[in-house]
Amino acid sequence: MLAAKVMLEQGIHVEGINFYTGFCVEGHTHAIRNHEHAKPKRNNALWTAEQLGIKLHIIEVIEEYKDVVINPKHGYGANLNPCLDCKGFMVRKAREWMEKNGFDFIITGEVLGQRPMSQRRDTMPVVARESGAFDKLLRPLCAKLLPETLPEREGWVDRSKLLDFNGRSRKPQMALAAKYGFKDYAQPAGGCCFLTNEQYSHKLADLWSTRGSKQYEFDDIMLLKVGRHLRPRPNFKLIVGRDEGENNFLEGYRKRFIHLHATSHEGPLVLIDGTVNEEDLELAARLTARFGKGREAESVTLTMTDMQGNSRELRVAPMLANEIPPEWYL
């Protein structure tokens, strides 16, 4: 938002690009969960474009992005976040869009030293090089600390009016936002990707390890965002809806999984991901009962439905809290 504003102030025509990878925290999450105190629903990229008065193009890169997540040339960060490869990928896609649509250069809101992996003095040139953008990539917020780029050399942009932000503190950005009169702005970078989330990364690693290969489909990564995930046995895990919104979302997937729900008490919809025998089913049913309102009852009646749509009733004693080892929770 700030980088775009700095350019707009110089009379540069700016249009925004927002990439949708499937791992974005915004979007689906607000649609799935019940948030009693949530802010009004909005897409922050669109909202920002509107505040700036610029066009925004949202580009879906779900399939292409898989290679970034599965085979990151520069490795992962603290979790399964391939930040440097991701930045290179997105700037490359932006370069392709720029060339196709007759634009002259790319700007990003990066700040030198802001992020530990992708915004260091030694890695920022890697992004410029590997994206193929080279000196057509301008970072207005820290440009004075970096070599001159094409738009500066050509005089399209006045370098003296660019900035020299450096380091992890966001105070300079907040001061600049205040100067421009921005009272509200989207969450700063880093918290908007599920791959930076430890718990999500743990679930993705579990998915890869139990399937025996580092692959995923869009539905896999969507389901990792939703519900409690428990793996009581190596051959199956449970996805347990945590509220009405999640139960409704999981409803859409129920035909692809054996699923359970209590009929004698209120409770969640639970999907079973994996292959199960009778003993596993009973365990799954006892866990399902544990997460419903019958958790203190002597027994709970549930309906189990297989992937062919055949249903049968199960009656089980809910599992006690202390019977669930913490390591079952993914």
Binding site: H28, A31, I32, R42, E50, K55, H57, I58, M222
Partner: protein, 76 residues
Amino acid sequence: MSHFVLDARYLLCPMPVIRTQNRIAELSPGDTLEVQATDPGALHDIPAWCRVHGHVIVSIAHADKEVSITLRVTAA
């Protein structure tokens, strides 16, 4: 000028707005597009996307769990 319908039901945001954007790229000024969605986020995102691109919202209907947004494509 023609009328088109886009079924974006059961997609979660931002997919309905991405599908809308991609469909509009194939249409001509004056055409209308009715977008059907089930994610209530579409009620916010699609009008916002139209505002930044200059397309006109003709009507918005919200019944039960379904949303219907009709917009007119402009030359913007």
